[in-house]
Structure formats: structure tokens, C-alpha cells
């Protein structure tokens, strides 16, 4: 290893074009390890720079230790503070003779850190693993340093680094386009511009912006850089639109989820269930309870408690819905405005009940690891939870469609909706269907509650935040029409997020509310009114 390092130094010296110094002449230059122990920052920096260029196989470990504040300086040299004791940085030998009390940490300031990072990158390029090299290259892209050009060229010539070719090119291009770069031919400059342009992103943009103003570069290069900035801007703008679109779709899917249950109870049954939001809240609290139960009894299943919470929330909220229907709503059929007041009463009681049991503050529902975090898709940042809720909303909608279209229950439900008396005459037990329909709608509210528990605060007031929006979605889309609800949720979600950057979130929401109010004035039965004799009284 030592030999290889020496050979590397020699090659480096050749590349640098400096006179090839004999090995013995190194004595004349100050010892970098001794410099690190110096109290002067200038000396420390010189030492770090020298280590970076040295290619010494101990240098990397030394610099890493310095970065981790584990490099101690003594009168004899510098020592790495390893777990077992002190290691002489120069030799890599354990050194038990040194009194730790006589040592002090190598001094570090911001200037030192900057140089350290560059030196470390230089060493990593030569000695690091592929991932380390990749990191070093991306660092060079953001902090181009002309002095690293030789090291870069040397490393990129190494056949082992073939897979990182484009990264090497980009890093080289960044250096060529930076102040202090060695002058190169015009076409090489232009290649550099296009290499940077290819990397995209804000880093490339700022690099090119700087290059466009750099006197040292050829006018054609600066022109090309300017054009590249414009093209990156355009691409970034497109991505940001796409990002807004994603946020909008995500908001839409939450709206759709919260409105779907209402579309059943309100749309199909004509019951105005003001407790709908509270049924969502109950679903969210069920998630919390299921999570706690599983954590304390079957911890092995903990990562999947969210999935187990789905049926639980459906059953709890659905059961509660059936209870509400049997206990209250069924006495009020045909008096929709009275159901509104009665269910408001139910919602107050549910809120207070949850507050009494779980306390007035938020409870913590954890997001399972597999649902946490975000990933990049091109220039998009996709939050996993939001993506999951989007898919979940689609799944729930599809399932609901299937139930309504393909099952006997759905058939009976539609029959009762369209003509209650006729359905009863055909032998459908309308009262039972009413209870089941209300239960289905409430159960879906519970499912929505599980989803919402992942992105919103789970508190007794959770339902209040959704009820008005859900009603607007259902009314705007056209009562009794699931596709209408979907269209309305998309319109409100995308519209809300679309207006947000223009006039702010709250003003956007106000404007949207006003627009919906005006729309309903023009089309009192929503975008897709249900047609048929059964609907008009």
C-alpha cells in the first residue's frame, strides 16, 4: 500500500508539472502531520492540503478523524482518538506512551472545514469506494476547486471508475466553468456547458449563471451558458408545475375520501349527516387504539397495525353509523333539515365523548416505517404517505363502485334510492337497506379517518375540519353521483393548490368557496345532477 501511495504521489507530481522531486527532498517541505498540530490555522490548512495531495494511505483516515473531531494534537505529532486508545496518525500504530492529558484537539474553523472537505474528496476519489467517490464528485459539482483538476483527471483515467464517467465529466466541467480554472479550448468549454446542463437542478443553474458572467470564458461559452440556464429554468418550472399537480391530486384524494361516505349517506339516502366528520374522527382514533393494542400485545405485527386498523375502523365507524341510523335518523326520514340538526347533536356528543376518553389534546398516531419518507421521481418529490392515500382513495372508490353496481346490497340500495315505495313492494326490506347504507357510508368515513390520521392531527376537532369541504364536494359534484364527487374533489383539490402560489393558501380557499357558491347558484344541483323522476319530489 505504501508503495502504491508513493507511486501515486509521483504521478501526481508529474501531472502537476512540477519538477519531479526525489523522495529525499520531501524532508525539505514541512511535514503535514506536524503542521496539523500547529496552533495556526494557516499551517493546519497547508497540512490538510498537503495530505490531500499526498495520496498517503494514512491521510484519509487522518482527515476523516479530523472531520469527526477525533484528531488530537501533541508536541510529537497528531493522534487519532480510537475507541481503544490513541493511534499515531502518521504510522497507524497504537501508541500507549502518550499521555492523553497532554493532547488537545486539532483546531478547526470554517476555513479549515472547507479545505478539509476538498482534501477529503481528493483522497476519496483515489481511494474511496464507489459510493464515496460518487459523494466526492457531487461535492465537487457544488464546490468546484481548480486545484483538484489534476486529481480528478488522474482518477477519471482509472478504468475502475468507468461507471462514474458522467459524474466525472460533470465535476470536471464544473471546474472548467468556475473562476480560477485553467484556460481550455472553446469546444471543451462548450462541452462543459452541455455536461452541466445535463445534470439539471438548482446547482447546475447557479453554476451556469456564474459561468455566464465569467470574463475568463469565451463569449460563445457564456452565451451557451445563458441559454442553458434558460432551458434549466424552463425544465424546473415544468417540474414545479408537476409538483403542484401532485400536491393537488393528493389534496383531492383526501377530499374524495372524506366525501365518499357522505356521497352515500347524503347522496343516496338524502340524509344530511353532520356527524360525518366525527365518524372520520372515530376512525382516526380507532387507528390510534389499534396501534396501541398491537404495540402492547403483538409487537411483531406493529409495522402492519395501520393495515389492521382499516377493517377495525370500518367496523367501528360503520357500527356507530348503524346505531345512529336506528336510534335517530330513521325517525326523521323525509325531513332532511331535521336530520341535519339531529346529526349535529350527535356530532357534539361524539366530540365530547372522545374528549372525555382520550383527552382534549392530539394523540400521536405513528406512521409506519414503510410509509414514511419521500422519494424523488425525476424532479418530483413524492411523499410516500400522500401517494399511499391517493392509491387508497382510488381503491376505496373502486370498491364502492363494485358494491353499488355488482352486489345485491348495491342493487337494493339503488332501488330504494330511485323509488322507495316500489322497492318495498318488490320485497326489499327498505328499513334494513337504510341501516346498511348508512353503515356503509359511515364505515367509509372510518376508512377516511385512518388515512387522515397519517397526515393530520388526531384530535377531537378533527372532524370539524373536513365536514364543510366534504359537503361542498358532494353538492358541487352533484348529489348521488360518485363520479361527480370525484370530479368535484379533483376540481377543488387542484384548484386550491393551483391558486395557492398565486394568492396564498387561505385566500385561495376563500376564492374557491366563493366560486363554488356562485356555481351552485347557476347549477343548483351540482356539476352532474342526477336525472330521473325519483329525485324530484
Amino acid at each position: 500500500m505504501r508503495k502504491a501511495g508513493l507511486a501515486f504521489t509521483l504521478c501526481l507530481a508529474l501531472v502537476l508539472g512540477s519538477p519531479c522531486a526525489p523522495a529525499g527532498a520531501q524532508e525539505a517541505t514541512p511535514d503535514p502531520y506536524a503542521q496539523l498540530a500547529s496552533p495556526h490555522f494557516d499551517a493546519i490548512i497547508a497540512g490538510i492540503e498537503a495530505l490531500g495531495r499526498s495520496g498517503d494511505d494514512k491521510a484519509l483516515a487522518t482527515l476523516q478523524a479530523l472531520g469527526a473531531h477525533k484528531l488530537m494534537a501533541g508536541s510529537e505529532g497528531v493522534y487519532i482518538h480510537a475507541g481503544t486508545g490513541l493511534v499515531d496518525a502518521r504510522t497507524g500504530q497504537q501508541n500507549a506512551d502518550i499521555d492523553p492529558a497532554s493532547l488537545h484537539p486539532v483546531r478547526v474553523n470554517n476555513r479549515v472545514r472547507l479545505v478539509l472537505a476538498t482534501a477529503r474528496a481528493e483522497l476519496l476519489l483515489a481511494q474511496g469506494s464507489r459510493a464515496e467517490k460518487h459523494d466526492a464528485l457531487s461535492r465537487m459539482l457544488t464546490h468546484p476547486d481548480a486545484s483538484m483538476l489534476p486529481a480528478l483527471d488522474h482518477a477519471s483515467a482509472d478504468p475502475a471508475n468507468k461507471s462514474l464517467r458522467s459524474e466525472f465529466e460533470a465535476a470536471r466541467a464544473a471546474i472548467l466553468l468556475s473562476p480560477g480554472a485553467p484556460p481550455v479550448a472553446l469546444n471543451e468549454q462548450l462541452t462543459a456547458v452541455s455536461a452541466i446542463k445535463k445534470t439539471g437542478g438548482l446547482g447546475a443553474r447557479s453554476l451556469l449563471t456564474r459561468a455566464a458572467a465569467l470574463e475568463a470564458l469565451a463569449p460563445q461559452t457564456r452565451e451557451a451558458a445563458k441559454k442553458a440556464v434558460a432551458s434549466i429554468d424552463f425544465r424546473l418550472r415544468l417540474w414545479s408545475y408537476a409538483q403542484d399537480l401532485f400536491y393537488g391530486v393528493s389534496l383531492s384524494s383526501v377530499l374524495l375520501l372524506s366525501a365518499m361516505g357522505l356521497a352515500i349517506t347524503f347522496g343516496v339516502m338524502g340524509v344530511i349527516n353532520m356527524a360525518h366528520g366525527e365518524l372520520m374522527m372515530v376512525g382516526a382514533y380507532t387507528t390510534f387504539v389499534v396501534e396501541r393494542l398491537i404495540a402492547s400485545y403483538i409487537p411483531a405485527l406493529s409495522p402492519f397495525s395501520l393495515i389492521l386498523a382499516l377493517p377495525a375502523a370500518f367496523v367501528v365507524s360503520g357500527g356507530l353509523g348503524i346505531l345512529i341510523e336506528r336510534g335517530v335518523i330513521r325517525f326523521l326520514y323525509g325531513r332532511p333539515l331535521e336530520t341535519l340538526l339531529a346529526s349535529w347533536g350527535v356530532s357534539l356528543i361524539l366530540q365530547q365523548a372522545v374528549r372525555s376518553v382520550f383527552g382534549p389534546s392530539n394523540v400521536a398516531v405513528t406512521t409506519p416505517g414503510w410509509l414514511g419518507g419521500a422519494f424523488a421521481l425525476g424532479g418530483l418529490e413524492i411523499t410516500t404517505v400522500r401517494l399511499a392515500i391517493f392509491l387508497f382513495a382510488i381503491a376505496v372508490m373502486a370498491a364502492l363502485m363494485l358494491v353499488l353496481r355488482r352486489t345485491p346490497l348495491g342493487l337494493h340500495m339503488r332501488a330504494v334510492t330511485q323509488n322507495r315505495r316500489m322497492a318495498a313492494l318488490m320485497g326489499i326490506r327498505t328499513a334494513r337497506i337504510d341501516a346498511l347504507t348508512f353503515g356503509l357510508g359511515s364505515g367509509i368515513a372510518g376508512l377516511a379517518g385512518v388515512a387522515v390520521s397519517q397526515i393530520d392531527n388526531v384530535s377531537p376537532n378533527l372532524g370539524q375540519g373536513y365536514i364543510i369541504d366534504s359537503f361542498l364536494v358532494v353538492v358541487f359534484g352533484g348529489v348521488g353521483n360518485l363520479w361527480g364527487s370525484l370530479a368535484a374533489a379533483l376540481a377543488l383539490g387542484l384548484g386550491g393548490k393551483g391558486l395557492e402560489p398565486l394568492i396564498g393558501a387561505v385566500s385561495g380557499k376563500i376564492l374557491l368557496l366563493v366560486l363554488v357558491i356562485l356555481f351552485i347558484q347557476r347549477h343548483p344541483r351540482g356539476m352532474f345532477p342526477m336525472r330521473g323522476r325519483g329525485i324530484e319530489s
Binding site: F266, M269, G270, I272, M274, V328, F331, L332, Y333, G334, P336, L337, E338, T339, L340, L341, A342, W344, G345, V346, S347, L348, I349, Q351, Q352, A353, R355, S356, T417, N419, R420, R421, M422, Q464, I468, F471, L472, V475, V506, S507, K509, I510, L513, V514, V516, I517, L518, I520, Q521, R522, P524, R525, R533, G534, I535, E536, S537
Partner: protein, 374 residues
């Protein structure tokens, strides 16, 4: 829903309200400690109840007589309160924290340099009155004209009234709107030169609220007991038939809608005078729904019932929240349920000698799944 067109009880209620308010006001002026004296707390509380009674009356006019279940009437109440609050804020003058005679404190705090145009002239009481009544009336006119013209009714109307007050709440929460954001308007000193904290001012305000409530009650009685009231109830019960008879339901409804908004705004203005603060929370949709339940408890379409309901429920709320604060929501929720399930005509229904069978007289008001195709 049955409707008698005499409302004899309304006259007695009006008289009772006025007398009670006057007596309380006078009693509050007696030296504290004497057997008959009334504490300022009670005076303020009664003033609040009576202001709420005005709101309830406004809801009763549109819900009881026009069949419009409004879920946004608190918006008009709050707008009236803000209108009066603007005058009261300007009346603080240079006595604010920042001592700026031209700008209210919160505007100084936001480092605004000029009054927004919609605050111009608000330092005059009369302009304040115009703002407090005019803005809700114009808003109600615009909203009602649009809604009734295109025959938005029933649930749909309820939902958009709720959306209206929700949108206003969001708007008033914003600092940029120039109404004090979260904190609203408060810190008032005096009205027309009278110190708002002085017992005499409070007594006069209470008496004034009582007199106004009585007058509004009598006015509503006259309006509903007359020809207009009959047409309105006809519109409520069978809108299309009334239309076929040559009436214009949208105009009939628009009139009651605007009148109702004005009454609510008046209630709001009297409220802010006595409570001394108005903030965006007044616009909360829950407040509007609560106002509906006051009317339901008292008995809708009876005028007197609205006043009784408002006072009764709010008195209950005062008691409950003092003794068992956690149980108030249970109580209120149970009240909603019990009223709709067992007391469709409210307290007034109980007071009537002959209990009426509701079904005989009810005509479907909106979409009725049971009666479809019938």
C-alpha cells in the same frame, strides 16, 4: 308546520322583554349591596342574551316562515358586530397603546400608514351604523338574489350559507384584511362620548337592547301577521303552487332574507357594545347552527319561541359551563336530538293547549324520499 297568523303571544313577549330589561337596567343603578341591586355581570349577561334573541328572531323569520334553514346567519350577526366595532375602534382615538389618533392599534402594529378605504368615515357614528346595517343587507341581498333567482333551495341552500360564513371566517382571520385578524376588534373605550364601562352606560345599553328587541318583535309580528306573512308561508309550504298563483317567490323570499339579515346585524351591533370584543370566531359555522337550535328549542315559526329559546339555551349554557364545563357539549348535543325527535314545535308547542298532530299540516318542504313519485 302550522302557522297561526295572530301571534298574540308576541305582543306579550315584547312587553315582557321591554319591562324586564328596563327593570334590570334600573336595578343595576341602585347602589351595590342593596337588596335589589343587580351586578354588572348580570347586566352584561342579560344584554348578551337579548342580542342573541335578536339573532334567533332573524333565524326564525327565514327558517320558520320561509323554510330556509340557514346555517350562516351568524355571518350577518358578526358583520353587524364588526360594523359597530369599527366605529368603537375609531372612537378609541389616541388613547390606544400606540397613541395614534388616525390608525387603530393593530394597524400601527402591522406598520400600515394609512387607513384602508373601507374604514373611511368610520369615526362617525352614523357611518358606523350605515356600515353595520348596510354591509350585511347588501351581502344578504346579493346572496339571496342569486340563490333565490336560480331556485337553490333546501339542503343546497343550507350548505352554501354555511360555506358563506366559513369563507368570511377565513377571510377575517387574515391580518391583511384590516380587521385585526385573530384578535378582532377590542379595547373599546366609549360610544358617543359615554364611557362603555360606566354602570349607567351599561344600564342604558341593556334597556336599549330590550326596547329594540321588543320593537323588532312587534315589527316582525306585524309583518308576518299581515298579507306578506301569509304569502311567505304559502311559499314555504308549496312554492310552485304559489308561483302558479302569480306570486314571485324569489322576491318574497329575498325580502324576508334581507330583513332577517338586518335584524341579525342589529343583534351583532348591540352584542359588541355590551361584550366589548368581536373576533372572527363569531363567523364559525357552529355558531350559526347553535342559533338554529335556539329557535328549534323555542319553537320555530312562532316569534316568541325564538326569544324564549335563545334566552333559555344560553342561560343553560352559562349555568352548565360554570358548574360542569365538560358536560355542556353533551347537554347541547342531547338538546339537538331531543328537540328534533320529541319536540318538533319546541317549548311553544308544549305551551299550546291542544297538542297538534304535526303530520296533518306539514307539507313537504324539499326533496322527500318517502314521497317521491307520490
Amino acid at each position: 308546520m302550522s302557522t297561526h297568523f295572530s301571534f298574540r303571544s308576541a305582543r306579550w313577549t315584547a312587553l315582557l322583554v321591554v319591562v324586564l330589561a328596563l327593570v334590570l337596567a334600573l336595578a343595576s343603578l341602585l347602589p351595590q349591596g342593596s337588596a335589589l341591586s343587580v351586578s354588572p355581570f348580570v347586566v352584561t349577561l342579560c344584554g348578551k342574551y337579548l342580542s342573541y334573541a335578536l339573532l334567533a328572531l332573524a333565524v326564525d323569520l327565514v327558517w320558520g316562515f320561509a323554510g330556509i334553514l340557514t346555517l350562516g346567519h351568524a355571518a350577518f350577526f358578526a358583520l353587524g358586530a364588526y360594523g359597530m366595532g369599527m366605529y368603537l375602534t375609531r372612537a378609541i382615538g389616541a388613547r390606544g397603546v400606540y397613541g395614534n389618533a388616525d390608525l387603530p392599534d393593530f394597524m400601527v402594529f402591522l406598520s400600515w400608514h394609512r387607513l384602508p378605504w373601507y374604514w373611511w368615515g368610520s369615526d362617525h357614528f352614523l357611518v358606523g351604523v350605515v356600515l353595520m346595517l348596510g354591509v350585511p343587507a347588501v351581502l344578504a341581498g346579493l346572496f339571496g338574489w342569486l340563490a333565490f333567482r336560480s331556485r337553490v333551495s333546501g339542503v343546497y341552500l343550507s350548505i352554501i350559507t354555511q360555506a358563506l360564513t366559513y369563507a368570511l371566517m377565513l377571510a377575517f382571520f387574515q391580518n391583511g384584511l384590516g380587521f385585526g385578524g385573530n384578535n378582532g376588534l377590542t379595547g373599546f373605550k366609549d360610544v358617543l362620548g359615554f364611557d362603555l364601562t360606566a354602570p349607567s352606560t351599561r344600564a342604558v345599553l341593556l334597556a336599549l337592547t330590550g326596547v329594540i328587541l321588543g320593537a323588532v318583535l312587534m315589527g316582525a309580528r306585524a309583518l308576518m301577521g299581515g298579507r306578506y306573512g301569509r304569502v311567505l308561508v304559502a311559499v314555504r309550504d308549496t312554492e310552485s303552487r304559489t308561483r302558479f298563483l302569480g306570486y314571485r317567490p324569489e322576491q318574497v323570499k329575498l325580502v324576508v332574507w334581507i330583513v332577517s339579515a338586518l335584524i341579525a346585524a342589529l343583534g351583532g351591533a348591540l352584542y359588541v357594545l355590551q361584550i366589548g370584543i368581536v373576533n372572527p370566531g363569531e363567523f364559525a359555522p357552529a355558531n350559526s347552527i347553535e342559533a338554529v337550535i335556539w329557535v328549534a328549542v323555542g319553537g320555530r315559526g312562532t316569534l316568541t319561541g325564538a326569544v324564549i329559546g335563545a334566552v333559555l339555551v344560553n342561560f343553560g349554557k352559562t349555568l352548565f359551563t360554570a358548574i360542569l364545563p365538560e358536560f355542556w357539549l353533551y347537554g347541547l348535543g342531547a338538546l339537538f336530538l331531543a328537540t328534533t325527535l320529541f319536540l318538533p314545535n319546541g317549548v311553544m308547542g308544549l305551551l299550546r293547549h291542544v297538542p297538534r298532530k304535526r303530520d296533518e299540516e306539514v307539507t313537504p318542504e324539499i326533496t322527500n324520499p318517502e314521497g317521491s313519485n307520490a
